[in-house]
Amino acid sequence: MNPQRDELQELWRKESTDMGVGAKGALPKGEAAGQAEASRLRRSVRRDGWLKIGALLFLGAALPLFAGRFSAAAWGVLGFSLLAVVLGIFQLAWSSSWRQESPALPLVASLAADLELWRRRRPALAVLLGATPALAWQVYQLAYLALNPGRSGRLVNLLFLTAGGPLLWLLASWRQWARLEAWLLQIEGALAAFDENAAANYLLARRRAGRRTALIAALLMILLLAGTLLYWLAK
């Protein structure tokens, strides 16, 4: 026994020996079993991209319904659906270009590089992912008005059309922003164990994320109540 060895190190060494945790002499077979969380985010961005491109299917099915009544609302459906498709294609191309991060750096450097990379990607990612529900909402609203032209004068429908989509985009992007912040917090949390300043920043960032989540929840509640109220007033 090494006289310099601590009691805990001795315990750890014995366990390693007893368990015989040795090498399994094999090459990694495919990537299906073990998937890094970063790959999962990339897949979720790609799925969202395909969902946007799926607007083409909707257009294909909906266009015959608009035949002969190409109003401004029908052109709006077409425009917003095509915007969704373009954004989806951009999203797929962008996520494909993300390089594989190198894990072969000292931990602090790797984590700091990850943090910087995701900080730079975060605004665009939040806006892109937040656009999906907003575009779907806008297309639905316009399709409704195109098929029911008599209802386009109602205040509630006008409000939903002009304010609903942009507001939903804003809120969904804000939610995505907070979701991505949780990712960054995890990296900062790991960095915090190595760096005293990072520990303080981590605590501040955690509080900020908590406040934002509470604010988003409150705003959604207010919107829900306002929507219900408008519906009753319109009746």
């Binding site: 750890w12 366990e15 079993a33 073990g34 164990a193």
Partner: protein, 174 residues
Amino acid sequence: MAEDTDRQREEAYLGLLAQHGRIAPAVARLYTPPGEDAADLEQEIRLQWWRSLAGFAGRAKASTWMYQVALHTALTFLRRRRRRLRPEPLEHAGNVADPFPHAGGREDRRRSALHGALARLEPGERALAYLWLEECSHEEIAAVSGISANAVGVRLHRIRKRLKEMLGTGEEER
């Protein structure tokens, strides 16, 4: 020509695995949440070793490089599991239970308690504690983590104290 390069890469990989492959299951076990299978993370670590082998080129000690890749992969893996893994404050750490309990005698219980105590450290601290348990020198830990050897000494002093406090509390309860 390309086949020769592939074979060389494969041989280098298998050689490294034979020498230091035990790092993968040990790190996977350290960073896998209780009740989950560590095989996914273990596989991911092996995959990252394979992928980044070309960038290794023997500039660092093989073990240093393998610790770096394994720990970075594990910390990346943890990002989305933050809430489930957030450690309890030290004062609540009386009952130090191992997520992978050992059946058996006193020593088995002590090992179990050690794993439980490690699971309660912050992920970065856990990396430093693991490297210390693996008997890496301060210089090697500094090379893996990227902080200075002096800072490693200070951090390890605190971490060892915390580990011993947690284990002391756990043993008193038995």
